[in-house]
């Protein structure tokens, strides 16, 4: 496979939208370590793939980093406890996306490591690169799986699956996704500024595992500080850093690969089909941690931000902490708060209850204020603005219409299954039609009704 020259990369992709960035709420807030809450709830299914089953018993005491759940399936990843403490009876919690999952609650022991110690253990200290070239790729993959690493960019796909070599589909490039194109969110940005080293080293380890000769870190142009921080580490290690146009959804992997490498991922395909593995910056750091320090994925950075939260912050939180804990740590909601969103405002889910645990895929909590509700829906005026912005060149209004009328031949004619639910179409629709929601339910219903 020929590798296109770097300067051939367009640094952007066609269509897409430019929502207000709104990063100022939290971009300058240093990452704070959240003290371990008295109780954490570790979801047994926080990734794409098969759920785990608990491997601990109630009342069993566990140390921080102990395994709590595991599965034999290929597409799955174990879960670990972020705190030392006592296991309690398994219960069920509802994740923000509406999925009901089994959770293992762990009551935190009174003595937990200090914030500084925790930070140093996870991101600080030295990150040597000299041993990487000697590592055994399958060994890396095994370590990544054992650490329970799944994508932290949103989809939460088990990372070891992506890194495992497939002779039919050779990988030439590891693309580290530091775009963070959702408005408001700043977790990845802060991590790049404060811990560039593990990110770059993790990417190099991933490249060794996947057999890639090239490592590229792609960051949107609106994060100059992060770009500089990554460059200061990357340049000396042969890692390329690319500044991409600021545009939503630049972080979607189809768009990132197109903008950074000039390659087009086929519909229904993966970056793998064009010789690329895409990993999020936090994922990269987690890989370094797992391989070099043997630490599982137990903590992640979460932005708690927006005009409706008292003190916007970037928090390093134990996976399993409750949304309520995070909100409380940020001074609580302001009275004018109107909507609380798990994730970014474009693709995230609004919360009805804060009694949900943070999972490996949680990137932020955005609290909108004031008149944030979308205006009421009116009839589609066929203006075609949704068509003008769809990054995948679909015709959203037709997809929504087909979904609404359950006209599956029409839905297929307009390629409904290609939609990645990015929300650009609904964002611009002058008639406030819930296009993404219609398309999403349409896809599910179609699958049920036109069984092969």
């Amino acid at each position: 496979m020929s590798v296109p020259a770097v300067h051939a990369a367009p640094r952007t992709f066609p269509r897409g939208v430019h929502p207000p960035e709104e990063k100022h709420w939290s971009r300058d807030r240093k990452i704070e370590v959240l003290r371990a809450p008295p109780l954490v709830q570790i979801a047994l299914h926080q990734h794409t793939g098969a759920p785990c089953t608990a491997v601990v018993q109630p009342r069993q005491t566990v140390a921080a980093g102990d395994i709590v759940g595991n599965s034999d399936a290929l597409i799955s990843a174990p879960v670990h406890t972020p705190v030392a403490g006592t296991v309690q009876r398994e219960t069920v919690a509802t994740l923000p996306n509406g999925r009901h999952v089994r959770v293992v609650p762990v009551q935190s022991a009174p003595d937990q490591p200090s914030p500084e110690a925790l930070w140093n253990d996870l991101f600080g200290g030295e990150w040597p690169t000299d041993s990487i070239s000697a590592m055994d790729p399958s060994e890396i993959v095994r370590a990544v799986r054992a650490a329970g690493i799944v994508g932290q960019g949103g989809a939460a796909f088990p990372t070891h699956v992506k890194l495992a070599r497939n002779p039919k589909k050779p990988v030439d490039t590891i693309l580290v996704n530091g775009c963070e194109c959702e408005p408001y969110l700043t977790a990845d940005e802060r991590l790049m500024i404060e811990a560039p080293r593990p990110i770059v080293v993790g990417a190099l380890i991933a490249a060794r595992a996947a057999g890639a000769s090239r490592v590229v870190v792609a960051v949107e142009r609106n994060k100059p500080e992060a770009l500089a921080a990554i460059r200061s580490v990357a340049d000396s290690r042969g890692v390329e850093v690319l500044a991409l146009e600021t545009k939503y959804p630049m972080g979607g992997e189809k768009q990132t690969v197109r903008a950074a490498l000039g390659r087009t991922i086929p519909t229904g395909g993966l970056p793998l089909d064009v010789g690329v593995v895409v990993i999020n910056v936090s994922t990269a750091a987690a890989i370094a941690r797992a391989v070099l320090r043997g630490r599982p994925l137990t903590h992640r950075v979460v932005s708690v931000t927006g005009p409706g939260i008292a003190e916007p912050k970037n928090l390093l939180v134990p996976i399993g902490a409750m949304y309520a804990d995070l909100i409380a740590a940020c001074g609580g909601l302001k009275p004018e708060a109107a909507r609380v969103i798990a994730g970014g405002p474009m693709m995230g889910f609004s919360l009805g209850s804060f009694q949900s645990p943070v999972t490996k895929g949680t990137s932020g909590i955005v609290v909108l204020a004031g008149e944030s509700a979308r205006p009421p829906e009116t009839p589609c005026v066929r203006c075609g603005r949704c068509v003008d912005v769809c990054p995948l060149n679909l015709v959203p209004t037709r997809l929504a219409l087909a979904a609404r009328h359950k006209d599956w031949p029409m839905a297929q004619r307009f390629h409904i299954t290609a939609c990645m639910e990015c929300g650009c179409c609904a964002y611009v629709c002058p008639a406030s039609i819930p296009l993404v929601q219609l398309i999403r339910t349409g896809k599910v219903q179609m699958q049920k009704e036109v069984a092969p």
């Binding site: 189809k254 087009t264 086929p266 519909t267 309520a324 609380v340 405002p345 203006c383």
Partner: protein, 342 residues
């Protein structure tokens, strides 16, 4: 469940948030949670009315009380008809989205100054009743309502809306004493100079006389993205190329491509009528095809048919082709079509 009005509400259920004693009112709704609010349906219609102001101004300057009369009759008839038909169908009143006023005003501006009261009224009632309500109301009509109404009125009252209706020297308005530029060309080969066509000093339908006013309003609409620029661009390009190539070969004498551009309702139609989002294609490619088709049809009807102008017919014929255009221009998704399951 066939009606779009019965779709689930987008904002609504108030969550019982247990986080704080002060309990803000929180809403739960599907994403995206932010919206580009610079353009709503209502805002689009307001934009059109705003962009039509220069045309209205020229109309009033030129045709005085006659222009005011046409605008008053057609616009109020359209708005009243919208209200009545919405009531008859038991649908929520849709007056405030402003689309009926746009239809009425666009229709009014396409009438001759001296058209009798019933032509505007019948035109507006047919526009809203047959052109819009029968198809299910805003957003669902397949033909441009204003042009449906105008076509009906024009064929119903050919003497009042046809070529002869324009010339009326007895009313004491200079603007009404000569034939319209297109009629003058068709009937006696007289060529009107370009400048009066641009400024709006000729006879014609009250809103069509000034090319400049149409361009000003039209550029505003395109800049606001209320109207798709591809449609006027395609139609103007098609017209200029189709008239310009023969002119290059034979040379220009008298009636030039510029005349074709500025005379009659071509620009008014290209910017305000062909761009009706509801009745034009969805994709940029489709919009180009639509615009080019409009331009060529106008030219063909002007040159070859019994009518001096072809805007209305061209728009209706292209409207009829929109479903076929939409079908032929389904874009290929980035990354190619969805692979068939196998």
């Amino acid at each position: 469940m066939t009606s779009s009005a019965s779709a689930p509400p987008t904002g609504g259920t108030t969550a019982t948030a247990a986080a704080r004693p002060r309990e803000p009112r929180l809403t739960v709704a599907p994403g995206p949670h932010i919206a580009d609010r610079s353009l709503t349906t209502q805002r689009m219609m307001a934009d059109v009315l705003l962009a039509l102001l220069p045309l209205v101004a020229v109309a009033i300057a030129q045709f005085r009380q006659y222009a005011l009369f046409q605008i008053a009759v057609a616009t109020s008839a359209a708005v009243i008809a919208e209200w009545v038909f919405a009531r008859m169908r038991g649908r929520p009143a849709t007056l405030w989205d402003g689309s009926a006023a746009v239809t009425g005003l666009i229709l009014a501006l396409s009438l001759p100054a001296t058209a009798p009261w019933y032509s505007g009224a019948v035109g507006a009632i047919v526009a809203i009743g047959v052109g819009k309500a029968m198809f299910g109301g805003l957003g669902q009509n397949l033909f441009n309502p204003a042009m449906v109404g105008r076509a009906f009125a024009m064929i119903a009252f050919p003497a009042a809306l046809g070529a002869t209706a324009y010339v009326n020297p007895t009313l004491g308005l200079d603007a009404l004493s000569g034939a319209t530029p297109l009629t003058a060309l068709k009937m006696s080969g007289n060529v009107t100079p370009v400048l009066p066509l641009v400024l709006g000093m000729t006879n014609g339908a009250i809103g069509e006389t000034s090319a400049l006013a149409s361009i000003l309003g039209g550029l505003y609409l395109c800049a606001r993205r209320t109207a798709s620029w591809e449609i006027p661009a395609g139609s103007i390009a098609a017209l200029l190329i189709a008239t310009g190539l023969p002119a290059l070969v034979r040379g220009v004498s008298g009636w030039s491509p510029l005349h074709d551009l500025c005379a009659g309702a071509f620009l008014y139609g290209a910017f305000f009528i062909a761009t009706d989002p509801v009745t034009s294609p969805l994709t940029p490619n489709g919009k180009w095809i639509f615009g080019i088709g409009y331009g060529l049809l106008v030219l063909m009807i002007r040159r070859l048919s019994g009518y001096p102008e072809g805007v209305m017919f061209a728009v209706l014929i292209m409207n009829a082709l929109v479903p076929l255009i939409n079908r032929a221009t389904i874009p290929v998704p980035v990354g190619g079509p969805v692979p068939s399951p196998k």
